[in-house]
Amino acid sequence: MMVKKKRPQILLNGIGIVYSLLCIIPFVIVVSASLSRPIDLSQAGYKLIPSPLSLNAYETVFRNPAVIGRSYAVTIFVTVVTVFFGLLFMSMAAYTLSRRNCAFRGALSFYFFFTMLFSGGIVPSYIWITQYLKLQDTYRVMIIPSLINVFYVFMIRTFFQQLPSDIFESAKIDGASEAVIFFRIALPLSKPVLATVAFFTAMGKWNDWTTGLYYLNDARLYPLQYLLYSIQRNIQALLAAMDFTTSGMGAIPIEDVPGENLLMAMAVIATGPMLVVFPLFQKHFVSGLTVGAIKG
Protein backbone atom coordinates (compact mmCIF):
# COMPACT_ATOMS: atom_id res chain seq x y z
CA MET A 1 0.00 0.00 0.00
CA MET A 2 2.97 2.31 0.40
CA VAL A 3 2.90 4.94 -2.28
CA LYS A 4 6.28 5.42 -3.85
CA LYS A 5 5.57 8.43 -6.00
CA LYS A 6 5.01 11.90 -4.72
CA ARG A 7 2.35 13.08 -7.14
CA PRO A 8 -0.58 10.98 -5.84
CA GLN A 9 0.13 12.27 -2.34
CA ILE A 10 -0.13 15.85 -3.54
CA LEU A 11 -3.43 15.05 -5.24
CA LEU A 12 -4.82 13.34 -2.13
CA ASN A 13 -3.74 16.23 0.06
CA GLY A 14 -5.26 18.66 -2.42
CA ILE A 15 -8.64 16.94 -2.15
CA GLY A 16 -8.33 16.75 1.63
CA ILE A 17 -7.57 20.45 1.90
CA VAL A 18 -10.39 21.52 -0.42
CA TYR A 19 -12.89 19.33 1.42
CA SER A 20 -11.70 20.69 4.80
CA LEU A 21 -12.07 24.25 3.54
CA LEU A 22 -15.59 23.51 2.31
CA CYS A 23 -16.41 22.34 5.83
CA ILE A 24 -15.14 25.56 7.40
CA ILE A 25 -16.18 28.28 4.96
CA PRO A 26 -19.91 28.28 5.86
CA PHE A 27 -18.92 28.99 9.47
CA VAL A 28 -16.70 31.84 8.41
CA ILE A 29 -19.60 33.32 6.45
CA VAL A 30 -21.95 33.07 9.43
CA VAL A 31 -19.40 34.59 11.81
CA SER A 32 -18.76 37.32 9.28
CA ALA A 33 -22.49 38.00 8.96
CA SER A 34 -22.81 38.24 12.73
CA LEU A 35 -20.12 40.94 12.69
CA SER A 36 -21.79 42.96 9.93
CA ARG A 37 -24.20 45.85 10.01
CA PRO A 38 -27.77 44.77 9.20
CA ILE A 39 -27.95 47.31 6.40
CA ASP A 40 -24.84 45.88 4.71
CA LEU A 41 -26.29 42.37 4.87
CA SER A 42 -29.48 43.42 3.17
CA GLN A 43 -27.79 45.63 0.57
CA ALA A 44 -24.38 44.11 -0.21
CA GLY A 45 -25.18 40.59 0.95
CA TYR A 46 -23.15 38.01 2.86
CA LYS A 47 -19.35 38.25 2.71
CA LEU A 48 -16.42 36.14 3.83
CA ILE A 49 -14.95 39.14 5.63
CA PRO A 50 -17.23 41.78 7.12
CA SER A 51 -16.70 45.35 6.01
CA PRO A 52 -17.27 47.51 7.85
CA LEU A 53 -16.96 45.52 11.05
CA SER A 54 -19.84 46.03 13.46
CA LEU A 55 -20.55 44.66 16.92
CA ASN A 56 -24.16 45.78 16.69
CA ALA A 57 -25.53 42.22 16.96
CA TYR A 58 -23.38 41.16 19.93
CA GLU A 59 -24.07 44.44 21.73
CA THR A 60 -27.77 43.75 21.28
CA VAL A 61 -27.51 40.23 22.67
CA PHE A 62 -25.38 41.14 25.66
CA ARG A 63 -27.31 44.29 26.49
CA ASN A 64 -30.19 41.96 27.18
CA PRO A 65 -28.61 38.59 27.87
CA ALA A 66 -31.66 37.11 29.61
CA VAL A 67 -33.03 35.40 26.50
CA ILE A 68 -29.91 33.51 25.48
CA GLY A 69 -28.74 33.05 29.08
CA ARG A 70 -31.95 31.40 30.09
CA SER A 71 -31.90 29.18 27.04
CA TYR A 72 -28.33 28.13 27.80
CA ALA A 73 -29.32 27.27 31.37
CA VAL A 74 -32.29 25.20 30.20
CA THR A 75 -30.15 23.32 27.68
CA ILE A 76 -27.35 22.60 30.14
CA PHE A 77 -29.79 21.48 32.83
CA VAL A 78 -31.73 19.20 30.49
CA THR A 79 -28.56 17.74 28.98
CA VAL A 80 -26.87 17.02 32.32
CA VAL A 81 -29.96 15.41 33.86
CA THR A 82 -30.64 13.33 30.74
CA VAL A 83 -27.07 12.10 30.51
CA PHE A 84 -26.89 11.21 34.22
CA PHE A 85 -30.16 9.32 34.54
CA GLY A 86 -30.05 7.95 31.01
CA LEU A 87 -26.60 6.47 31.60
CA LEU A 88 -27.61 5.06 34.97
CA PHE A 89 -30.85 3.41 33.80
CA MET A 90 -29.41 2.19 30.50
CA SER A 91 -26.36 0.58 32.10
CA MET A 92 -28.48 -1.01 34.86
CA ALA A 93 -30.69 -2.64 32.25
CA ALA A 94 -27.67 -3.54 30.13
CA TYR A 95 -26.15 -5.36 33.09
CA THR A 96 -29.24 -7.52 33.55
CA LEU A 97 -29.29 -8.26 29.81
CA SER A 98 -25.62 -9.25 29.93
CA ARG A 99 -25.86 -11.83 32.73
CA ARG A 100 -26.36 -15.46 31.76
CA ASN A 101 -27.73 -16.38 35.18
CA CYS A 102 -30.67 -14.03 34.71
CA ALA A 103 -33.79 -16.17 34.40
CA PHE A 104 -35.73 -13.80 32.14
CA ARG A 105 -32.84 -12.60 29.98
CA GLY A 106 -34.25 -13.85 26.66
CA ALA A 107 -37.70 -12.38 27.17
CA LEU A 108 -36.29 -9.09 28.38
CA SER A 109 -33.91 -8.87 25.39
CA PHE A 110 -36.84 -9.26 23.06
CA TYR A 111 -38.84 -6.66 25.01
CA PHE A 112 -36.02 -4.16 24.45
CA PHE A 113 -35.12 -5.21 20.92
CA PHE A 114 -38.65 -5.06 19.57
CA THR A 115 -38.85 -1.31 20.18
CA MET A 116 -36.02 -0.90 17.66
CA LEU A 117 -37.99 -2.75 15.00
CA PHE A 118 -41.40 -1.23 15.44
CA SER A 119 -42.74 2.02 16.81
CA GLY A 120 -46.18 3.50 17.06
CA GLY A 121 -44.96 6.64 15.37
CA ILE A 122 -45.22 10.26 16.34
CA VAL A 123 -49.02 10.65 16.35
CA PRO A 124 -49.89 8.20 19.16
CA SER A 125 -46.91 9.49 21.18
CA TYR A 126 -48.06 13.05 20.66
CA ILE A 127 -51.61 12.31 21.80
CA TRP A 128 -50.39 10.22 24.75
CA ILE A 129 -47.95 12.87 25.94
CA THR A 130 -50.21 15.90 25.47
CA GLN A 131 -53.68 14.52 26.25
CA TYR A 132 -52.96 11.91 28.92
CA LEU A 133 -49.59 12.63 30.52
CA LYS A 134 -50.05 16.40 30.06
CA LEU A 135 -46.34 16.96 29.72
CA GLN A 136 -46.34 19.87 27.29
CA ASP A 137 -44.38 22.90 28.49
CA THR A 138 -42.46 21.04 31.19
CA TYR A 139 -38.81 20.20 31.71
CA ARG A 140 -39.90 16.59 32.08
CA VAL A 141 -40.95 16.29 28.45
CA MET A 142 -37.45 17.30 27.41
CA ILE A 143 -35.87 14.66 29.66
CA ILE A 144 -37.96 11.58 30.42
CA PRO A 145 -38.99 10.34 26.94
CA SER A 146 -35.40 10.43 25.71
CA LEU A 147 -33.69 8.73 28.66
CA ILE A 148 -33.55 5.26 27.12
CA ASN A 149 -31.96 4.63 23.75
CA VAL A 150 -32.16 0.90 23.17
CA PHE A 151 -29.28 0.94 20.73
CA TYR A 152 -27.01 2.23 23.51
CA VAL A 153 -28.41 -0.32 25.96
CA PHE A 154 -27.25 -3.12 23.69
CA MET A 155 -23.93 -1.40 23.14
CA ILE A 156 -23.28 -1.30 26.89
CA ARG A 157 -24.54 -4.88 27.28
CA THR A 158 -22.03 -6.10 24.69
CA PHE A 159 -19.26 -4.31 26.55
CA PHE A 160 -20.26 -5.97 29.85
CA GLN A 161 -20.30 -9.37 28.13
CA GLN A 162 -16.74 -8.86 26.94
CA LEU A 163 -15.40 -8.21 30.43
CA PRO A 164 -13.47 -11.25 31.76
CA SER A 165 -15.98 -13.53 33.48
CA ASP A 166 -13.51 -14.55 36.23
CA ILE A 167 -14.00 -11.19 37.90
CA PHE A 168 -17.73 -11.74 38.23
CA GLU A 169 -17.34 -15.33 39.40
CA SER A 170 -14.83 -14.54 42.10
CA ALA A 171 -17.01 -11.67 43.29
CA LYS A 172 -19.95 -14.08 43.54
CA ILE A 173 -17.86 -16.56 45.52
CA ASP A 174 -16.94 -13.76 47.89
CA GLY A 175 -20.66 -13.31 48.44
CA ALA A 176 -21.25 -10.11 46.47
CA SER A 177 -24.82 -9.64 45.29
CA GLU A 178 -25.62 -8.85 41.66
CA ALA A 179 -26.43 -5.21 42.43
CA VAL A 180 -23.12 -4.83 44.24
CA ILE A 181 -21.24 -6.47 41.36
CA PHE A 182 -22.91 -4.04 38.97
CA PHE A 183 -22.15 -0.87 40.92
CA ARG A 184 -18.74 -1.85 42.33
CA ILE A 185 -17.25 -3.91 39.49
CA ALA A 186 -19.07 -3.71 36.15
CA LEU A 187 -19.62 0.07 36.12
CA PRO A 188 -16.09 1.16 37.06
CA LEU A 189 -14.64 -1.21 34.43
CA SER A 190 -16.85 0.18 31.69
CA LYS A 191 -15.70 3.78 31.52
CA PRO A 192 -14.84 3.64 27.79
CA VAL A 193 -18.31 2.60 26.65
CA LEU A 194 -20.00 4.84 29.22
CA ALA A 195 -17.99 7.81 27.94
CA THR A 196 -19.04 7.04 24.37
CA VAL A 197 -22.70 6.76 25.28
CA ALA A 198 -22.55 9.85 27.47
CA PHE A 199 -21.02 11.81 24.63
CA PHE A 200 -23.63 10.78 22.08
CA THR A 201 -26.49 11.27 24.52
CA ALA A 202 -25.21 14.74 25.37
CA MET A 203 -24.80 15.66 21.73
CA GLY A 204 -28.26 14.36 20.86
CA LYS A 205 -29.85 16.32 23.67
CA TRP A 206 -27.88 19.48 22.98
CA ASN A 207 -29.00 19.37 19.35
CA ASP A 208 -32.59 18.41 20.06
CA TRP A 209 -35.09 20.87 18.64
CA THR A 210 -38.00 18.63 17.60
CA THR A 211 -39.12 18.13 21.21
CA GLY A 212 -39.66 21.87 21.34
CA LEU A 213 -41.42 21.81 17.99
CA TYR A 214 -44.03 19.36 19.28
CA TYR A 215 -44.29 20.06 22.98
CA LEU A 216 -43.16 23.58 23.90
CA ASN A 217 -45.09 26.82 23.61
CA ASP A 218 -43.67 28.62 26.63
CA ALA A 219 -40.70 30.66 25.38
CA ARG A 220 -39.06 30.55 28.83
CA LEU A 221 -38.48 26.81 28.37
CA TYR A 222 -36.93 26.95 24.91
CA PRO A 223 -33.62 25.10 24.69
CA LEU A 224 -30.97 26.65 22.46
CA GLN A 225 -31.68 24.77 19.25
CA TYR A 226 -35.40 25.36 19.41
CA LEU A 227 -34.79 29.01 20.25
CA LEU A 228 -32.61 29.26 17.13
CA TYR A 229 -35.30 27.54 15.10
CA SER A 230 -38.07 29.81 16.32
CA ILE A 231 -36.18 33.09 15.92
CA GLN A 232 -35.25 32.17 12.36
CA ARG A 233 -38.97 31.83 11.69
CA ASN A 234 -39.91 34.96 13.59
CA ILE A 235 -37.21 37.49 14.40
CA GLN A 236 -39.79 40.02 15.57
CA ALA A 237 -40.56 37.88 18.61
CA LEU A 238 -36.87 37.92 19.53
CA LEU A 239 -36.66 41.69 19.18
CA ALA A 240 -39.74 42.05 21.34
CA ALA A 241 -38.25 39.75 23.98
CA MET A 242 -35.15 41.92 23.94
CA ASP A 243 -37.24 45.08 24.42
CA PHE A 244 -36.62 46.54 21.03
CA THR A 245 -39.02 49.15 19.79
CA THR A 246 -38.92 50.96 16.49
CA SER A 247 -41.40 53.59 17.55
CA GLY A 248 -42.18 55.69 20.61
CA MET A 249 -39.94 56.40 23.55
CA GLY A 250 -36.44 54.98 23.38
CA ALA A 251 -36.83 54.07 19.74
CA ILE A 252 -33.66 53.38 17.82
CA PRO A 253 -32.94 54.48 14.27
CA ILE A 254 -34.30 52.03 11.75
CA GLU A 255 -30.91 51.27 10.20
CA ASP A 256 -29.62 50.13 13.57
CA VAL A 257 -32.42 47.65 14.20
CA PRO A 258 -30.68 44.30 14.20
CA GLY A 259 -31.80 41.83 11.57
CA GLU A 260 -30.08 38.82 10.16
CA ASN A 261 -26.82 39.83 11.81
CA LEU A 262 -28.57 39.22 15.13
CA LEU A 263 -29.78 35.79 13.98
CA MET A 264 -26.28 34.85 12.93
CA ALA A 265 -24.83 36.15 16.21
CA MET A 266 -27.31 34.00 18.13
CA ALA A 267 -26.24 31.00 16.06
CA VAL A 268 -22.58 31.73 16.80
CA ILE A 269 -23.19 32.15 20.53
CA ALA A 270 -25.33 29.02 20.72
CA THR A 271 -22.98 26.82 18.69
CA GLY A 272 -19.46 28.18 19.20
CA PRO A 273 -18.70 26.70 22.63
CA MET A 274 -19.82 23.25 21.55
CA LEU A 275 -17.60 23.30 18.49
CA VAL A 276 -14.69 23.77 20.87
CA VAL A 277 -15.80 21.15 23.38
CA PHE A 278 -17.05 18.28 21.20
CA PRO A 279 -13.89 17.65 19.14
CA LEU A 280 -11.98 17.13 22.39
CA PHE A 281 -13.86 13.85 22.78
CA GLN A 282 -13.03 12.70 19.29
CA LYS A 283 -11.03 9.65 20.29
CA HIS A 284 -14.15 8.07 21.77
CA PHE A 285 -16.22 8.22 18.61
CA VAL A 286 -15.63 4.99 16.82
CA SER A 287 -14.53 2.84 19.74
CA GLY A 288 -17.52 0.80 20.78
CA LEU A 289 -19.86 2.32 18.26
CA THR A 290 -19.48 -0.37 15.65
CA VAL A 291 -22.86 -1.45 14.41
CA GLY A 292 -22.08 -5.13 15.00
CA ALA A 293 -22.06 -4.32 18.67
CA ILE A 294 -25.79 -4.88 18.96
CA LYS A 295 -25.71 -8.26 17.32
CA GLY A 296 -26.53 -11.41 19.33
Partner: protein, 315 residues
Protein backbone atom coordinates in the same frame (compact mmCIF):
# COMPACT_ATOMS: atom_id res chain seq x y z
CA UNK B 1 -27.00 -38.38 57.54
CA UNK B 2 -25.27 -35.20 58.39
CA UNK B 3 -23.85 -35.04 54.87
CA UNK B 4 -27.29 -35.30 53.28
CA UNK B 5 -28.65 -32.60 55.53
CA UNK B 6 -25.82 -30.25 54.75
CA UNK B 7 -26.28 -30.92 51.06
CA UNK B 8 -29.98 -30.08 51.19
CA UNK B 9 -29.23 -26.92 53.06
CA UNK B 10 -26.70 -26.00 50.43
CA UNK B 11 -29.08 -26.54 47.49
CA UNK B 12 -31.88 -24.63 49.17
CA UNK B 13 -29.58 -21.74 49.97
CA UNK B 14 -28.35 -21.89 46.38
CA UNK B 15 -31.95 -21.77 45.26
CA UNK B 16 -32.62 -18.83 47.53
CA UNK B 17 -29.60 -16.98 46.24
CA UNK B 18 -30.80 -17.55 42.67
CA UNK B 19 -34.08 -15.91 43.58
CA UNK B 20 -32.22 -13.02 45.18
CA UNK B 21 -30.10 -12.69 42.04
CA UNK B 22 -33.17 -12.49 39.86
CA UNK B 23 -34.80 -9.96 42.15
CA UNK B 24 -31.69 -7.84 41.75
CA UNK B 25 -31.81 -8.27 37.98
CA UNK B 26 -35.45 -7.22 37.89
CA UNK B 27 -34.73 -4.21 40.07
CA UNK B 28 -31.84 -3.16 37.81
CA UNK B 29 -33.84 -3.48 34.60
CA UNK B 30 -37.01 -1.94 36.00
CA UNK B 31 -36.47 1.80 35.32
CA UNK B 32 -35.52 1.28 31.68
CA UNK B 33 -38.23 -1.33 31.12
CA UNK B 34 -40.85 0.93 32.68
CA UNK B 35 -39.75 3.90 30.56
CA UNK B 36 -39.98 1.78 27.42
CA UNK B 37 -43.41 0.63 28.48
CA UNK B 38 -44.62 4.20 28.90
CA UNK B 39 -42.92 5.80 25.90
CA UNK B 40 -42.73 2.92 23.40
CA UNK B 41 -45.31 0.25 24.18
CA UNK B 42 -48.24 2.42 25.20
CA UNK B 43 -47.87 4.57 22.06
CA UNK B 44 -47.72 1.32 20.08
CA UNK B 45 -51.20 0.48 21.33
CA UNK B 46 -52.19 3.95 20.15
CA UNK B 47 -51.92 2.81 16.54
CA UNK B 48 -55.64 2.01 16.83
CA UNK B 49 -56.13 5.77 16.37
CA UNK B 50 -55.47 5.21 12.67
CA UNK B 51 -58.67 3.17 12.51
CA UNK B 52 -60.75 5.68 14.47
CA UNK B 53 -62.31 9.07 14.14
CA UNK B 54 -60.31 10.55 17.00
CA UNK B 55 -62.07 13.03 19.24
CA UNK B 56 -60.16 14.60 22.09
CA UNK B 57 -63.20 14.53 24.36
CA UNK B 58 -63.72 10.80 23.91
CA UNK B 59 -60.09 9.77 24.07
CA UNK B 60 -58.25 7.04 22.21
CA UNK B 61 -60.49 4.17 23.20
CA UNK B 62 -63.81 6.02 23.31
CA UNK B 63 -63.63 7.44 19.80
CA UNK B 64 -65.69 5.62 17.16
CA UNK B 65 -64.17 3.11 14.75
CA UNK B 66 -64.07 4.05 11.07
CA UNK B 67 -62.26 1.03 9.62
CA UNK B 68 -59.85 1.92 6.84
CA UNK B 69 -61.41 5.33 6.09
CA UNK B 70 -58.31 7.27 7.21
CA UNK B 71 -56.11 5.15 4.96
CA UNK B 72 -58.51 5.65 2.08
CA UNK B 73 -58.32 9.41 2.52
CA UNK B 74 -54.55 9.32 2.70
CA UNK B 75 -53.97 7.05 -0.29
CA UNK B 76 -56.54 8.84 -2.45
CA UNK B 77 -54.94 12.22 -1.81
CA UNK B 78 -52.29 13.51 -4.21
CA UNK B 79 -49.99 13.85 -1.18
CA UNK B 80 -49.67 10.09 -0.68
CA UNK B 81 -47.98 9.36 -3.99
CA UNK B 82 -45.85 12.48 -3.77
CA UNK B 83 -44.60 11.91 -0.23
CA UNK B 84 -43.95 8.19 -0.75
CA UNK B 85 -42.09 8.85 -4.00
CA UNK B 86 -40.03 11.64 -2.45
CA UNK B 87 -39.23 9.59 0.64
CA UNK B 88 -38.08 6.54 -1.29
CA UNK B 89 -36.37 8.46 -4.10
CA UNK B 90 -34.52 10.91 -1.88
CA UNK B 91 -33.50 8.26 0.63
CA UNK B 92 -32.18 6.14 -2.22
CA UNK B 93 -30.09 9.08 -3.44
CA UNK B 94 -28.89 9.85 0.09
CA UNK B 95 -27.96 6.23 0.82
CA UNK B 96 -26.03 5.67 -2.41
CA UNK B 97 -24.25 9.03 -2.36
CA UNK B 98 -23.26 8.60 1.30
CA UNK B 99 -21.99 5.08 0.74
CA UNK B 100 -19.78 6.12 -2.17
CA UNK B 101 -18.43 9.28 -0.55
CA UNK B 102 -17.88 7.71 2.88
CA UNK B 103 -15.79 4.94 1.37
CA UNK B 104 -13.99 7.31 -0.99
CA UNK B 105 -12.97 9.64 1.82
CA UNK B 106 -11.98 6.72 4.04
CA UNK B 107 -9.76 5.41 1.24
CA UNK B 108 -8.28 8.87 0.73
CA UNK B 109 -7.30 9.01 4.39
CA UNK B 110 -6.05 5.42 4.21
CA UNK B 111 -3.71 6.18 1.32
CA UNK B 112 -2.39 9.40 2.87
CA UNK B 113 1.05 8.91 4.32
CA UNK B 114 1.22 11.87 6.68
CA UNK B 115 -0.49 10.95 9.96
CA UNK B 116 -0.71 14.62 10.79
CA UNK B 117 -2.61 15.32 7.57
CA UNK B 118 -5.06 12.44 8.24
CA UNK B 119 -5.73 13.71 11.74
CA UNK B 120 -6.23 17.28 10.57
CA UNK B 121 -8.69 16.41 7.78
CA UNK B 122 -10.65 14.04 10.00
CA UNK B 123 -10.87 16.53 12.85
CA UNK B 124 -12.10 19.29 10.56
CA UNK B 125 -14.50 17.29 8.42
CA UNK B 126 -16.24 15.79 11.43
CA UNK B 127 -17.28 19.21 12.75
CA UNK B 128 -20.41 19.51 10.56
CA UNK B 129 -21.85 16.32 12.06
CA UNK B 130 -21.92 17.96 15.50
CA UNK B 131 -24.37 20.53 14.20
CA UNK B 132 -28.12 20.27 14.54
CA UNK B 133 -30.19 20.64 11.39
CA UNK B 134 -31.24 24.02 12.77
CA UNK B 135 -27.70 25.36 12.62
CA UNK B 136 -27.16 23.70 9.24
CA UNK B 137 -30.30 25.56 8.15
CA UNK B 138 -28.61 28.84 9.15
CA UNK B 139 -25.45 27.99 7.21
CA UNK B 140 -27.40 26.94 4.13
CA UNK B 141 -29.46 30.12 4.30
CA UNK B 142 -26.32 32.27 4.30
CA UNK B 143 -25.29 30.48 1.11
CA UNK B 144 -28.63 30.25 -0.68
CA UNK B 145 -30.46 33.41 0.37
CA UNK B 146 -31.87 34.66 -2.97
CA UNK B 147 -30.68 38.25 -2.55
CA UNK B 148 -27.26 38.52 -0.94
CA UNK B 149 -26.53 34.83 -0.45
CA UNK B 150 -23.01 33.73 -1.30
CA UNK B 151 -23.97 31.35 -4.12
CA UNK B 152 -26.01 33.95 -5.99
CA UNK B 153 -23.19 36.47 -5.57
CA UNK B 154 -20.85 33.97 -7.20
CA UNK B 155 -23.37 33.31 -9.99
CA UNK B 156 -23.81 37.01 -10.76
CA UNK B 157 -20.06 37.54 -10.55
CA UNK B 158 -19.65 35.12 -13.45
CA UNK B 159 -22.47 36.81 -15.33
CA UNK B 160 -25.26 34.35 -14.59
CA UNK B 161 -28.77 35.10 -13.38
CA UNK B 162 -29.40 34.63 -9.67
CA UNK B 163 -31.52 31.64 -8.66
CA UNK B 164 -34.52 31.86 -6.32
CA UNK B 165 -33.37 28.80 -4.42
CA UNK B 166 -36.25 28.54 -2.00
CA UNK B 167 -38.86 28.44 -4.75
CA UNK B 168 -37.27 26.10 -7.27
CA UNK B 169 -38.13 22.53 -6.24
CA UNK B 170 -36.19 20.70 -8.93
CA UNK B 171 -32.86 22.03 -7.70
CA UNK B 172 -33.39 20.51 -4.26
CA UNK B 173 -32.76 16.80 -4.75
CA UNK B 174 -29.16 17.64 -5.69
CA UNK B 175 -28.92 20.31 -2.97
CA UNK B 176 -30.16 17.93 -0.28
CA UNK B 177 -27.69 15.28 -1.40
CA UNK B 178 -24.83 17.78 -1.19
CA UNK B 179 -25.94 19.18 2.18
CA UNK B 180 -26.37 15.68 3.59
CA UNK B 181 -22.90 14.68 2.37
CA UNK B 182 -21.41 17.89 3.75
CA UNK B 183 -22.79 17.10 7.18
CA UNK B 184 -22.28 13.33 7.18
CA UNK B 185 -19.17 12.20 5.30
CA UNK B 186 -16.57 13.24 7.87
CA UNK B 187 -18.28 11.13 10.51
CA UNK B 188 -19.59 8.35 8.25
CA UNK B 189 -16.18 7.66 6.76
CA UNK B 190 -14.67 7.03 10.20
CA UNK B 191 -16.32 3.61 10.40
CA UNK B 192 -14.85 2.54 7.08
CA UNK B 193 -11.49 4.07 7.97
CA UNK B 194 -11.41 2.11 11.24
CA UNK B 195 -12.18 -1.05 9.31
CA UNK B 196 -9.45 -0.32 6.74
CA UNK B 197 -6.90 0.10 9.51
CA UNK B 198 -7.57 -3.52 10.44
CA UNK B 199 -6.25 -4.95 7.15
CA UNK B 200 -3.07 -6.96 7.62
CA UNK B 201 -0.15 -5.45 5.69
CA UNK B 202 1.07 -8.93 4.65
CA UNK B 203 -1.78 -9.12 2.14
CA UNK B 204 -0.44 -6.13 0.27
CA UNK B 205 3.13 -7.43 0.33
CA UNK B 206 2.10 -10.81 -1.06
CA UNK B 207 -0.09 -9.13 -3.65
CA UNK B 208 2.77 -6.85 -4.71
CA UNK B 209 5.05 -9.86 -5.12
CA UNK B 210 2.47 -11.40 -7.42
CA UNK B 211 2.41 -8.23 -9.49
CA UNK B 212 -0.92 -6.80 -8.30
CA UNK B 213 -1.56 -3.16 -9.15
CA UNK B 214 -3.58 -0.59 -7.21
CA UNK B 215 -6.83 -1.69 -8.83
CA UNK B 216 -6.25 -5.33 -7.91
CA UNK B 217 -5.58 -4.28 -4.32
CA UNK B 218 -8.86 -2.42 -4.22
CA UNK B 219 -10.84 -5.17 -5.87
CA UNK B 220 -9.42 -8.25 -4.13
CA UNK B 221 -8.22 -7.03 -0.74
CA UNK B 222 -9.90 -3.80 0.30
CA UNK B 223 -13.44 -4.30 -0.98
CA UNK B 224 -13.85 -7.85 0.40
CA UNK B 225 -12.54 -6.58 3.72
CA UNK B 226 -15.09 -3.75 3.84
CA UNK B 227 -17.99 -5.88 2.62
CA UNK B 228 -19.46 -6.98 5.99
CA UNK B 229 -19.52 -3.39 7.21
CA UNK B 230 -21.03 -2.16 3.94
CA UNK B 231 -23.75 -4.83 4.12
CA UNK B 232 -24.68 -4.10 7.72
CA UNK B 233 -24.80 -0.35 7.08
CA UNK B 234 -27.00 -0.91 4.04
CA UNK B 235 -29.43 -3.21 5.88
CA UNK B 236 -29.90 -0.49 8.46
CA UNK B 237 -30.32 2.11 5.74
CA UNK B 238 -32.78 0.09 3.67
CA UNK B 239 -34.74 -0.87 6.75
CA UNK B 240 -35.12 2.86 7.40
CA UNK B 241 -35.75 3.89 3.81
CA UNK B 242 -39.34 4.77 4.66
CA UNK B 243 -38.18 7.14 7.39
CA UNK B 244 -36.86 10.47 6.20
CA UNK B 245 -34.47 12.69 8.13
CA UNK B 246 -37.05 15.19 9.37
CA UNK B 247 -34.60 18.01 10.10
CA UNK B 248 -33.04 17.86 6.66
CA UNK B 249 -36.31 17.90 4.75
CA UNK B 250 -38.23 20.20 7.06
CA UNK B 251 -35.79 22.74 8.41
CA UNK B 252 -33.04 22.99 5.82
CA UNK B 253 -35.70 23.67 3.17
CA UNK B 254 -37.25 26.22 5.57
CA UNK B 255 -40.49 24.28 5.09
CA UNK B 256 -40.97 26.31 1.92
CA UNK B 257 -44.26 25.41 0.23
CA UNK B 258 -43.01 25.84 -3.36
CA UNK B 259 -40.42 23.12 -2.69
CA UNK B 260 -42.94 20.46 -1.64
CA UNK B 261 -43.05 18.76 -5.07
CA UNK B 262 -39.58 17.36 -4.35
CA UNK B 263 -39.00 17.85 -0.62
CA UNK B 264 -42.27 16.82 1.02
CA UNK B 265 -41.62 13.42 2.60
CA UNK B 266 -43.77 11.20 4.82
CA UNK B 267 -42.30 12.63 8.01
CA UNK B 268 -42.85 16.27 7.04
CA UNK B 269 -46.31 15.38 5.82
CA UNK B 270 -47.20 13.74 9.14
CA UNK B 271 -45.88 16.76 11.02
CA UNK B 272 -47.96 19.14 8.92
CA UNK B 273 -51.11 17.06 9.06
CA UNK B 274 -50.81 16.71 12.82
CA UNK B 275 -49.54 20.12 13.97
CA UNK B 276 -50.71 22.51 11.27
CA UNK B 277 -53.96 20.96 10.04
CA UNK B 278 -54.85 19.03 13.19
CA UNK B 279 -55.86 16.13 10.96
CA UNK B 280 -55.22 13.27 13.34
CA UNK B 281 -56.92 10.66 11.15
CA UNK B 282 -54.77 11.32 8.11
CA UNK B 283 -51.50 11.77 10.01
CA UNK B 284 -51.99 8.63 12.10
CA UNK B 285 -52.83 6.61 8.99
CA UNK B 286 -49.69 7.84 7.24
CA UNK B 287 -47.67 7.18 10.40
CA UNK B 288 -48.93 3.62 10.84
CA UNK B 289 -48.34 2.92 7.15
CA UNK B 290 -44.76 4.12 7.62
CA UNK B 291 -44.20 2.03 10.75
CA UNK B 292 -45.61 -1.17 9.26
CA UNK B 293 -43.71 -0.88 5.99
CA UNK B 294 -40.51 -0.05 7.90
CA UNK B 295 -41.02 -3.10 10.13
CA UNK B 296 -41.57 -5.40 7.15
CA UNK B 297 -38.57 -3.95 5.33
CA UNK B 298 -36.23 -4.55 8.26
CA UNK B 299 -37.38 -8.14 8.66
CA UNK B 300 -37.18 -8.77 4.91
CA UNK B 301 -33.71 -7.32 4.37
CA UNK B 302 -32.43 -9.20 7.38
CA UNK B 303 -33.93 -12.43 6.09
CA UNK B 304 -32.35 -11.95 2.66
CA UNK B 305 -28.96 -11.30 4.19
CA UNK B 306 -29.37 -14.35 6.42
CA UNK B 307 -29.98 -16.49 3.33
CA UNK B 308 -26.83 -15.18 1.68
CA UNK B 309 -24.57 -15.33 4.68
CA UNK B 310 -25.85 -15.73 8.23
CA UNK B 311 -22.77 -14.03 9.68
CA UNK B 312 -23.78 -10.71 8.18
CA UNK B 313 -27.36 -10.75 9.45
CA UNK B 314 -28.35 -8.35 12.18
CA UNK B 315 -30.44 -10.82 14.20
Amino acid sequence: MAGVKRNRLKTSSLHASKIVDNIHFAFLALPAAALLFVFAYIPMSGIVIAFKHFRVTEGVFGSPWVGFKNFEFFFKSADAWRTIRNTLGMNFLLIVSSLICNIAFALLCYYLRSRRAIKTYQTITIIPSFLSWVVVGYLVYALLKPSGGIINQIITFFGGTPVKWYSEPYKWPALLVIINLWRGVGYGSLFYFASLMGIEHDYFEVAALEGANRWHELRYIILPHLLPLIIIMQILAIGNIFRADFGLFFNVTRDAGPLYPTTDVIDTYIYRALMKLGDIGMSSAAGLFQSVVGFVLILATNLIVKRIDADYALF
